[in-house]
């Protein structure tokens, strides 16, 4: 069957099998950041944003994505530049093997969209479905706190500028 959907603002119009899962389609299209890791909705490594909300691509039928917007981690960094979340993860030593990281970034970006001032508990709760076997999570929580802080200060800049110009 034919479906049409956007990945990171790029339109894809493709032929799929009716039982195809989004993780399979995305990897086939070259979005290799989307990982097969557990296939039982238990680890979050396949997370992508669907219309802005993090979902598990290993449990999403591609047929159901027809007409919708998908965002993978490739959509969060411009070439040669990392998002605040990505940069904080690297800076805080929160990336070890890195296999869970794309799914984590995608979910953490959604968290910061909903809550730009999360405390540690809120971060852990929001990201509890993103397993990591390497880090013990400590540094990742710190990284997301830091990213939120950076984003808070950067979003406050335009507000001030607006205030000055008016």
């Amino acid at each position: 069957m034919k479906v049409e959907f956007k990945v990171n603002d790029r339109k894809h119009s493709i032929e799929i099998k009716p039982g195809e899962l989004l993780v399979e389609t995305l990897r086939r299209l070259g979005y290799k950041s989307v990982k097969h890791a557990c296939d039982t909705a238990s680890c979050g490594a396949c997370s992508v944003q669907l219309d802005g909300n993090p979902v598990l691509s290993c449990r999403t039928f591609t047929a159901a994505v027809d007409g919708h917007d998908v965002k993978t981690v490739e959509g969060f960094s411009k070439e040669g530049e990392l998002s605040a979340v990505q940069k904080a993860l690297v800076d805080e030593g929160a990336v070890q093997c890195g296999f869970c990281i794309p799914g984590l970034v995608v979910t953490a970006e959604a968290l910061l969209k909903e809550n730009l001032n999360p405390n540690e508990e809120e971060i852990k709760t929001y990201l509890n479905g993103n397993l990591c076997r390497c880090t013990g999570y400590v540094s990742q929580t710190h990284a997301i706190m830091k990213a939120a802080e950076i984003r808070r200060s950067s979003t406050s800049v335009p507000v001030e500028k607006r205030g000055e110009s008016s």
């Binding site: 069957m1 099998k17 009716p18 039982g19 195809e20 899962l21 399979e24 296939d39 039982t40 909705a41 238990s42 979050g44 997370s47 669907l50 909300n53 993090p54 979902v55 598990l56 290993c58 449990r59 999403t60 039928f61 047929a63 159901a64 979910t107 959604a110 968290l111 709760t125 929001y126 990201l127 509890n128 479905g129 993103n130 397993l131």
Partner: protein, 274 residues
């Protein structure tokens, strides 16, 4: 990948029901459960999301469309504030952010999974379900779980609006696991006496069930002094099973323990000193 021949997107509920009645068809809404099925004879999926059914309507009761996502418990202004934010709080116990963004209330109920937290929560709240099987009909969630038919499409859940105290407890091995046992209790207090009480235990590992013996025992008693005896009674009457997560022995003890925790929670909320 599921080996199916067709992924159907019906335009009307009548069409969905017709597709669903074709041989080897299955309804899908969030996809979470269906995508992992290892059913060799499955031929087609009927996507119910195309029917909308994703509205939350406030009235004498709150009507929750079957395709409403569990994330709405936290985000929707009606649901997240109902019963002192009860639904917002308990949603954190269910699955994960991603799962709550996918799982629908209809799917959580219709599959009759033993470990469903949603079924326990909504049964405790004495919800009604709206079904379609050629005509629309309404029945209590409790009866639907017991007697509902597989080909019926769950189209909505009706949540009664009242001032009952609601509490939900879930015991799981880790914070990202299905319940070893879950329990819900709802009650009113009149002159500090318990009235209109509902007690539901789920993930026994069998599906959620009301525990009427405990409800009857609690009726007319005061919360604080009845707690230990109610828990003892719960351990005696609750029907539980053994699986890889726990023995029936332990589940009985958990049912009593969770009842006490839930009752203490209501004590706290209602200002009773425990």
């Amino acid at each position: 990948m599921l080996k199916i021949k067709e992924y159907l997107k019906p335009k009307t509920i009548e069409e969905a029901y017709e597709f669903g009645n074709l041989l080897n068809s299955l309804y899908v809404s969030g996809g979470l459960i269906v995508a992992q099925l290892k059913v060799s004879h499955l031929e087609r999926l009927v996507d119910l999301k195309t029917l909308g059914m994703d509205e939350i309507e406030d009235g004498n009761t709150v009507k929750i469309g079957a395709n409403v996502k569990l994330a709405s418990f936290m985000k929707n202004s009606i649901l997240s504030t109902l019963n002192n934010g009860f639904f917002k709080e308990v949603a954190k116990e269910i699955g994960s952010t991603q799962i709550r963004n996918m799982a629908t209330i209809g799917g959580s109920i219709a599959f009759r999974l033993g470990w469903s937290d949603v079924t326990t929560i909504f049964m405790t709240a004495k919800s009604q379900v709206e079904l379609y099987d050629g005509i629309f009909r309404k029945m209590s969630l409790e009866n639907f779980i017991k007697d509902g038919k597989r080909d019926q499409i769950v189209t909505a859940v009706y949540l009664p609006k009242n001032a009952r105290f609601l509490a939900f407890e879930k015991f799981a091995k880790s914070t990202f696991d299905i319940a070893t046992l879950n329990l819900g209790i709802a009650l009113s207090l009149k002159d500090d006496r318990i009235e209109d009480v509902t007690v539901v235990v789920g993930s026994r590992p069998m599906i959620s069930e009301r525990v009427r013996e405990v409800e009857e025992f609690l009726t007319g008693k005061d919360l604080l002094s009845s707690m230990d005896k109610a828990a003892d009674l719960m351990e005696k009457v609750i029907k539980v099973g053994t699986d890889m997560r726990a023995s029936s022995e332990y589940r009985k003890a958990l049912a009593g323990a969770l009842l006490k925790k839930a009752m203490r929670r209501i004590c706290h909320e209602s200002g009773i000193q425990s």
